[in-house]
Symmetry: C2
Amino acid sequence: MPEPSPVLIVGSMALDSVRTPVGEVKDALGGAADYSSVAASFFAPVRLVGVVGDDFPREHLDYLTSRGIDLAGVEIVPGGRTFRWAGYYDFDLNIAHTLDTQLNVFADFQPKLPDAYRRAQYVFLANIDPELQLQVLSQVENPALTVCDTMNFWIEGKPDALKEVLRRVDIAFMNDAEARQLTGKLSIIKAAKALQDLGPKTVIIKKGEHGALLFHGGQHFAAPSYPLEDIADPTGAGDSFAGGFIGYVASRGDTSMATLRKAVVYGSVLASYNVEDFSLNRMRRLTDADIAARYRAFQEIAYFEAMDEATV
Amino acid sequence: MPEPSPVLIVGSMALDSVRTPVGEVKDALGGAADYSSVAASFFAPVRLVGVVGDDFPREHLDYLTSRGIDLAGVEIVPGGRTFRWAGYYDFDLNIAHTLDTQLNVFADFQPKLPDAYRRAQYVFLANIDPELQLQVLSQVENPALTVCDTMNFWIEGKPDALKEVLRRVDIAFMNDAEARQLTGKLSIIKAAKALQDLGPKTVIIKKGEHGALLFHGGQHFAAPSYPLEDIADPTGAGDSFAGGFIGYVASRGDTSMATLRKAVVYGSVLASYNVEDFSLNRMRRLTDADIAARYRAFQEIAYFEAMDEATV
């Protein structure tokens, strides 16, 4: 078993105020980079690049450090205020309603990689301005694997920069609606292939309650979703999915189809736990045994026997 | 290997006129009982109960007979006109737009089982009026397995009769929208459990491009969908899915979870082929080798390795 390579993660660090039908939190730890870094930390060391104000609670930084997350790349702006998002989910937990977005110090974020980060082998560009994602790519020297996420906001606002990112990464994450929006294809299969044509050899489509699809060259894998009856808060599901994915790949040190399939399942495991509680609360008490148990549950959900050759 | 038991199938036999973005057919062989019987016939003998007018082309009856489908239960009404459906699909193939429905002889359909059919072990009640489904159930003597399908029309129009059917069958098929509509649960997991609470030990949720879910007692199986890029005509997908399912179960003669999982995959195989062409045209030229090849493709799509115990 090789030593896991560190994963470089760049993205938003936030304080979220979220209300769902089962409860609410105020100014809780959030942001794509926080969710994905903690998820990845179950598999590999993480090097985080982000920005916060000096209002960002010390306890959150301590928690991230306790997870093996290197914060040398986190800029703390003196007198600055941390990025805040406020929103709610109604009965349909697939739809996030934004009440307020305060970019604050995140508005001027210019990711600068500490020297030690530039030789990162595994790079995850969480959902941020694609122009910043390109800045990060220009600072890493010879990565083994680059992975990006994005959202509808950038598809609408900066499609050209986003397409340049797609030209340069190995793996792109997108949810099904985003993939359809960017490519103009209604069929998710056609949309995924159109995304591959834009650059990334591998495309991973997140479908929420319908699981996830992996397209790798001409190969295809479909992961089921975990049958959760009660979801507390869907915030960060996609980020913890991507974080678990790249953390596992880094822990293996290879990008074979077999490893990518397992990584999708580990990502699904992390995402399915994450939505069981608000903020990163479920991940805070998550154990390796929990992860193993749910991985086995995914196997049970997806398993069916080979054909009886005599029947057909 | 036991001799496959015959499957009793009751439902609509129709002549469909369908237009999709890639073509159209007029007065083509259709109807839930025709699709499901032909799909089941790849695995087990079928005994069909339905009604047509004497305008129903002889060649369709000959084709069904050639598939090992016993037509002793098919009533041919002299001077009667066969049930006709006309509709179209636009860009979104998930939505069928009805142009015209002529019930004709189907309006007075009173399913009467020939004596030899009453001891059927495997019974599939395709999508028809739930009061007729109940009539069929009262005529079968001691079935090993009863399976029903339905549609939004009956959920809205005859919910009480439909619930009585659900109390009396072993397995219920429904698509995700129908399951949500009948139970009032937005979560598909909660909806499936609410359906189980109404009676059937086993519930199968059809999700189209997102595959299918099997709930059996407290167990759960998720089947992927086949990544088709081009769908000619989605008509009959659910019927061929259910037909392939029950045909395979009858061929095995057991209703273990392992068999039900495989039956869901065989059903998915039949449905995925069926939508490749209009009417039953793809099933007309389908071979056992085709079925075997696609079953293996489903295995490849769903497979991932067990955990590395050393990692987590």
